[in-house]
Symmetry: C3
Subunit: 270 residues, 3 copies
């Protein structure tokens, strides 16, 4: 996985400007994750400035975790501008399937045509596939590994974007190829569901990689980076508060060699 290490080093040397229109719960979390990785985040959602920021940015992250009408308007403006300018966009459909507002908003944004990557959990991506009842709040109500792999490809083909379904094993598809990112051990299992915003961090990291890689590789790189950093952090602390702190430490400490050595990426036919 040498390309993975190179991608990380390219993020570090280029320090891409990543514009985030994201939810209030994780604004601080994902800004810190992007800074720790080596990117330069800007968090901004005013309809009056989002187009100007998309023009300046290397990538756009759109996350629907807390919505209101002004945010939705800004997201549509920003994704439309990104499409016109050819800037890459990653969408996190937080809570799609939990409320009609979220499902509808996620589908609307992806239909604009400017989205390069969609990253969600099993329930959220199921909702985009038209299935109901797989989301409970912002968590997936189930995780079926085989179905996750299919879902990635199915939703990728449906919308013409790269789709990542994250869970214990993560699947990324561009509709033709599917890649899995597997854990190295079970070390994170106790703690991973006990900190808010971890999925949002993965999405933000994909945003940083979109500045230096094509969408399929950017999605794999963002996921693999999170997974390795999370495993190193969980080795240092199995408790959620301390794990969370160490996660930022490891997003910073991780280097290309370590990432390339630890990431367990495998390819499948779609």
């Amino acid at each position: 996985m040498e390309w993975l290490g190179n991608a990380l080093e390219r993020v570090r040397s280029r320090r891409p400007l990543v514009h985030n229109i994201t939810n209030f719960v994780v604004m601080n979390t994902t800004a810190n994750a992007l800074l720790a990785l080596g990117a330069s985040p800007i968090m901004a959602h005013s309809p009056e400035e989002v187009e100007e920021l998309v023009r300046a940015a290397d990538a756009l992250v759109v996350n629907i975790g807390t919505l209101d009408s002004s945010f939705i308007y800004s997201m549509i403006k920003a994704v439309s501008a990104a499409k016109e300018l050819g800037k890459p966009v990653v969408l996190d459909p937080v809570g799609a399937g939990a409320t009609r507002l979220r499902t509808r908003t996620a589908l609307h944004i992806v239909s604009l045509g400017g989205v390069s990557v969609v990253r969600g959990n099993f329930g959220e991506i199921s909702a985009l596939a038209g299935e109901v009842g797989m989301t409970r709040g912002v968590e997936a109500s189930a995780y079926d590994e085989l179905r996750a792999r299919e879902l990635a490809t199915e939703v990728s083909r449906k919308f013409g974007t790269v789709v990542a379904v994250t869970g214990r094993v993560d699947y990324v598809s561009n509709g033709r190829e599917v890649y899995s990112v597997e854990p190295n051990s079970a070390v994170v299992e106790g703690v991973i569901g006990r900190v808010t915003g971890l999925g949002c961090i993965v999405t933000a990291l994909i945003g940083a990689y979109l500045a230096v890689e094509e969408p399929l590789k950017a999605a794999i790189a963002g996921i693999a980076t999170f997974k390795v950093a999370a495993e190193k952090a969980a080795e240092e602390s199995p408790y959620p508060g301390s794990f969370h702190v160490k996660l930022y430490d490891w997003l910073y400490r991780l280097d290309g060699d370590l990432l390339a050595r630890y990431a367990k990426v495998r390819s499948y036919e779609a």
Copy 2:
């Protein structure tokens, strides 16, 4: 206090969905506290989705720490829906007494009739009792233990809800019985006022317990859980940054036995 340990274990096994309409300062803080405890939080405030989420949720947490007209509208919609559906609600009247907007909003929400528990500091609950000048910003300007106990009962009777006044010793009343939760030592005293959102965490934990206990016990359980976790955290670090991190660790590490053994709950006649 065996029931306390059982209540914690029930939260862990049921993993209740707790819908939070809360302030921007603590959205991340209380989501993480609920996850660390073992509940499943969703933070959402859009008028377009709050009723749908109340229907799905096991309990609702309403916290007025940062207000605007859209939030107030959503809170009223959500509490009204919860009342109709019989879902339990805990209200945190952050800063009541500090501004007319906050006092008025807290009184409005509690007057809707759907609130099961109100949790505030001495100044905030004084403001709900009609007393002025006891709040300075979002902190109580004084703490009078004897008066705190009376206040809990007085405000409980006034509004027909369980009321918790938290401070060094916490008092919870349903208008007929009063319970105190006492510290085991002075270990938290230096640090407890030096981290934001700790009161909001207590309120959120009460929300989780409301899914598995009746309001009086839920309030006692939320308070006792926080108190024990905070004491264990303060034993590990007396400084606010590290204490805050360890608090999440201990909300996760705490088990029913430890909680039942350490919680110092005492009952009084109202």
Copy 3:
């Protein structure tokens, strides 16, 4: 620097109420920094309550890091009220130079006449001086130490406020005198750009000192306090997550003696 130590002790004993109208990314961060220092923060942005809170507060912090029209309206109301009441105000023009909305809003607020101190990075203060292209997102695109010193004086004279330009070396000017705050070592250099909201923390600390010192000294004290605390934190951990936690610890652990001994403040002719 005995006056510095005294200023810190005065903040601790007076526990000033600091009203913050700030951005969503750092609301939690700066509230925790102010509490760790020993001040009493309130975070509130509703147009309906900001004037009432300014009346109660000892100082006002205005930070434009995430804007919308309601926030701008509240900021103008609050700064106008502070001017009328003679309450000190510190402005953080986050991202000025990055978008027209931010540059325009910062210039509008400073033109109201109630601002005592402006604290920004090199790019932001350059934007207030009328220079373009020095801001990239919310980071300065360059740092020229000699120019930073000039800028502080130039912008101070232009607006009749104290101006602080922060970077590796910080410069503070009231238009007649310039002071620098220098690092004690390079210990923070790896980590300082990898945590969000550190500049916002400096601004908030200046707000706390404005309650006990005149603007020039308050700006120097806020900057020096941050710098010493950050150096002590970085000595304990060179990684961003852990450094961030230790920063709060050291804002709390710092005492007047330590601050007076470690702060490297030097004066220049303007």
